[in-house]
Symmetry: C2
């Protein structure tokens, strides 16, 4: 199912790209399989038009209309062409696209495309309309400008994905995400050529989809926040239009408290149950020994299969701690009677029953690592949160598998970390037979600590790096170049309505209670939320009702300023030149002065009180950095006592404050260390 590229093709690509003149350095993301720059440019003016040749379907023509609107939006050109109709005139257009057939939304469908731009014509050819949609995105990324206006560089692009399954999970159970959040993120996925939206719809904290057969599920399990079936159909239509599959997840037998708010009789424990407000792993689980449970799921999955057309359906299956099963004598008796010796085997039995139901409705079962138990048939798909080894094990046994370990974007880790995480690591040692079973991967956006206001900033732009890992040849892995292109794509993603940047200043204005947020901005720019699960161990018990409007929530998961500062430190330590020193000094002085500038802001905003130590710490660290910089600039050196004292100060400042940390301290430490030894 995987499109294999030869190493030669990939190396050719890199050569082609790197051979380009600096002015032509392309900001393509994901990097295509092959890019060859040729001579000349295709100029874009108001007469630019697009047409299909050889007939077209609505998906491609709607995509072409969106392409034209975005092109007009970026360039300000009053393009003369009307909305695209199915009866376009074709041959006279400057930009022609054609394809062979409508694509199926199934993993492994042909998504390849080729673009040829010459000075008088843009040609996009694909086997399916899915490839055409990808081509539109590449073309928009190729748009460039000079004093003469906008143009496309003349180029030949040949492109197809490395993996067939490139997805994003959004957890809409822990915090409900209105339809517009889903839609703008679907646009984001399409822009970076991802093709699966994994819709995590149920969990302890909420049951988020309307069931007409069992309306109590959404009525009692959602606090009023759920998707109507009309909204689900609307989302699926929107995704389908963008070449994206929508795979629903109903997490069972654990992660299921919200179901029991409606149907306590299906739980293995006595209850009573109410929708969960806290986070973590909880006990409630379906009772696998209760025949009524399977009757219920038969009707429920029948309804959901008619609502969700995707051939895959995810049943979760993770993190059932078995406590309710252990404490239930009926379940113990059931195990004994059926010679089921442990809870793993019991869950395998449960999964087997569910599998039968899903097959009846023509659905392939997907689940997390835990569903992989001996005896399950090979047509299930394993999604690995445990890691590449679990993934490889599944593939070796002949199970299709997708990787999510290392792609948890909610954990606020750097893009480079995700980027370096390959579903097929070069040392993975999978046999040639096992390779095709690794279908791809999914970024996962768990929503304990995000609201509709902040979720985009946790997904974007870092998910674009994951998209590249899953689409581009394995050899494309220069993190520095990735960051350069990521910055460009992050700005382009804004045109789709994504709020990853624009909500930050709004949040700062709310915190500061006014329009002037310059000082607060210079602080938040070097602040990062605590990574992984550390925010949950700061002495505050987060719940679904907790405010997510603090400075830590406004901070980007990965500080761009800190990354650039660290690069400047590296450059300075290598060259010791005046220019690098001045750049560092500029940063450090701004950080030193923000504390004073912030004082009146902090004084009038109690919500910012917790930020004061961060602000003070940054100023102190900046002072240390300036001192070290002076030492280094004067080409003198300080003793180890000085180094130890300054390091102690910096270590204290690095401690978490307000559930966040200062991302530049580690770079300032590098200056201190350097000042303590001979240069």
């Amino acid at each position: 199912m995987r499109t294999l590229l030869t190493r030669a093709a990939a190396i050719f690509l890199l050569a082609a790209v790197s051979a380009a003149a600096p002015a032509e350095k392309l900001d393509l993301m994901p990097v295509p399989s092959s890019v060859i720059l040729t001579e000349g440019t295709f100029r874009v003016d108001e007469d630019f038009s697009v047409a299909a040749v050889g007939g077209t379907g609505v998906r491609a023509s709607r995509g072409a209309s969106r392409f034209m609107a975005r092109l007009a939006g970026r360039t300000g050109l009053f393009l003369k062409q009307d909305f695209l109709s199915l009866e376009g005139d074709g041959e006279n257009a400057a930009f022609i696209y054609k394809y062979g057939r409508l694509g199926d939304l199934t993993p492994g469908e042909d998504e390849s495309y080729a673009i040829t731009i010459s000075p008088d014509r843009v040609l996009l050819v694909a086997r399916t309309d899915l490839g055409v949609l990808h081509g539109f995105e590449t073309l928009l990324q190729l748009l460039a400008s000079d004093r003469g206006g906008y143009y496309f560089p003349c180029v030949q692009v040949g492109d197809s994905p490395r993996f067939a399954w490139r997805g994003l999970l959004i957890d809409c159970a822990r915090h409900f995400m209105p339809v517009e959040v889903i839609k703008r993120n679907l646009d984001g996925l399409a822009a970076v050529k991802m093709n699966v939206f994994h819709w995590h719809l149920t969990d302890y904290q909420g049951f988020r989809v309307e069931s007409r057969i069992f309306p109590r599920l959404h009525e009692r399990g959602s606090d009023g926040s759920y998707y109507t079936q009309a909204q689900v159909r609307d989302v699926i239509a929107y995704a389908t239009d963008r070449g994206i599959r929508v795979m629903p997840e109903f997490d069972i037998p654990g992660h299921s408290t919200s179901w029991f708010a409606a149907y306590p009789e299906f739980a293995a424990g006595p209850g009573p149950y109410r929708v969960e407000r806290r986070f973590g792993i909880m006990d409630p689980a379906f009772d696998p020994s209760n025949p009524a449970v399977y009757g219920f799921f038969d009707r429920f999955f029948g309804e959901m299969a008619s609502l969700f057309p995707d051939p895959y359906l995810h049943i979760g299956g993770d993190e059932n701690n078995g406590r309710q099963w252990d404490e239930n004598p009926d379940i113990q008796a059931f195990k004994k009677a059926n010679r089921i010796f442990d809870n793993q085997a019991l869950q395998a039995y449960f999964n087997g029953r569910i599998l039968e139901i899903l097959r009846k409705y023509g659905r392939r079962m997907v689940g997390w690592d835990e569903i992989l138990e001996p005896g399950l048939p090979k047509d299930i798909v394993i999604q690995s949160w445990r890691g590449p080894k679990a993934l490889a094990d599944a593939a070796r046994q002949g199970y299709a598998a997708i990787l999510s370990h290392g792609y948890y974007v909610d954990l606020c880790q750097p893009a480079a970390f995700h980027y370096g995480n390959d579903p097929l690591p070069s040392n993975g040692g999978l046999s040639a037979e096992a390779l095709p079973f690794v279908l791809g991967g999914e970024a996962t956006m768990w929503s304990e600590l995000v609201s509709p206001e902040t979720i985009d900033s946790r997904i974007w732009p870092r998910t674009a790096a994951i998209a590249e890992r899953l689409w581009s040849p394995a050899e494309v892995r220069d993190a520095g170049d990735m960051y350069r292109r990521l910055e460009a794509v992050a700005l382009e993603l804004e045109e789709l309505g994504l709020t990853h940047y624009k909500n930050q200043e709004m949040m700062l204005r709310r915190l500061a209670g006014g329009e002037d947020v310059a000082a607060l901005k210079s602080l938040v720019d070097v602040v990062e939320p605590l990574e992984q699960y550390k925010r949950h161990s700061q002495g505050v018990d987060y719940s679904v009702l907790s405010p997510l409007t603090r400075l830590v929530d406004a901070a980007q998961p990965e500080s761009r300023t800190a990354r650039l500062f660290d690069a400047a430190v590296t450059a300075f330590l290598r060259t010791r030149d005046r220019k690098s020193a001045d750049e560092l000094r500029g940063h450090l002085r701004r950080w030193q002065s923000q504390a004073e500038a912030l004082k009146p802001v902090l004084a009038r905003s109690p919500a910012l009180a917790e930020v004061e130590p961060l602000s003070r710490g940054l100023a102190s660290a900046a002072a240390v950095g300036l001192e070290a910089l002076d030492v280094l600039s004067a080409k003198t050196v300080r003793g180890q006592d000085w180094v130890r004292e300054k390091s102690r100060i910096l270590t204290r400042i690095r401690q978490p404050q307000a559930h966040a940390e200062l991302a530049v301290i580690i770079s300032i430490e590098r200056l201190v260390t350097a000042a303590g030894r001979k240069s």
Copy 2:
């Protein structure tokens, strides 16, 4: 239908507010009928909770849950209370609300409320749950903070609206606005106590609602952009939950090209028809002599009446130029046969037939000024775009009427202009009997020149000034104080997802092609879009496909910087003090330097090329201003030749550029004029 306040009560209010200590200056908008500050504060901490006493309905309890979420969001407090249920414990809560009955969503329903805050209790009482919702909004505006944390000042508020009909029209025909645009604006309306969403659903450029009886209407009339009936119901439910009526408008017999793309046989002219792309007044109109037209409308309005529960239905009726009627011999024969002597009378005949249909479905007819013709019954409502005189005429004749003239927020006029526009001007001379027929007013957001990206910035915050005009006592009319409060409410509106501020920097980033938009921001901050209809006469023919992503689109309709600069000029010319001079100099120097800073940005962005004259003009004007300021600061004076030369320069700079103008030139001219005479 109008709640009349005595003048005494209003004056009492002003006295009460102005008696407050400066620190307690309240940012309430709209200003309540009566506010009396008392001693002390109610402190808000994590134990703060809310409950209903005496039973509650879902509308109020959902409103209370939203209130708590916004309170947590603003304060960062981890409030302990769970989502509100209908079975709250009541008496133990710090904040108690109670009301007598569920409110009806009809004009004139009781919306009054009273708030009493003492140091240990917040009490909100209302006759209906609609009043409770208004009370929640007032309470959120009362939230204040000091070094000790957040609090509500102790206060007694008594409040009810001056007018029963306080609305906003959004034109979703010329540019389609997705559901989320509508929803966030409904939240904005609720925040400023408006209670009507007037949904302009059809026009030349689009038919935007699904018809199941006549699906060709949305299929052929919308280019695929329409609201499904499920979405309409969703919007109505959302509005109802916020105490807002949803009145649909189907504009007939003119403004109807999009209908004829589906049903050309109902037009008075021969066609062919396609959905219109351009703007202006067009010829197509329904054929009032065709009996099939009324059969069609009978079924169509029957369907729409079952979809839209509001008792009022708007039929437009404006700007039918009669050309198609004049050119159609059948219509001429029909007029003759029925002794209809002109097109006005013919339209009155048409309206009479439509009125019968609407009555059959229990709907009251609303229309623009033009529908007011002799012989129409008194149960119709006139919406006046022509002006207060037309409004008063209608009221005198016993027609209920609402004012929109002077509330066209799409025309980018200052908030103070709208604010000064009263449905019942003090010199209006309406008799006491006629007064109650003036129901209120509606802001209108026509969408020729807005996209989902920019529409909020054209509606907000200025519509809040209109909301105050329609809610607060007539005597509340200090524009300076209105602007002070408007700035506060503008920031609060952001928490509802409105994009009036946050989309600006995003648009600047797109234009600049990068993150650093400081120089561009200092330019755009003093730029205003051309007012009224002047953008349509700049040599570019706007269509529904034109890009709305240029600098003029990123500019706010009313420059806050220009307003503050003008106030500083006034202060300086009065005092000639150093501090005022320094403030002016600071502005002028920034404007002088932006041109240089912008050069590299303009060079790399062809979309910004049109902005160069604005940038250069601002720098030149700033230089003139600095020169005048030097003269004035030195207490010297310049001759009239100098004044004439500088004025000539400034007059040239004031000319429209890039469909925008510089809003500070007029203030700089004041400096020049002052420098030309003895101080």
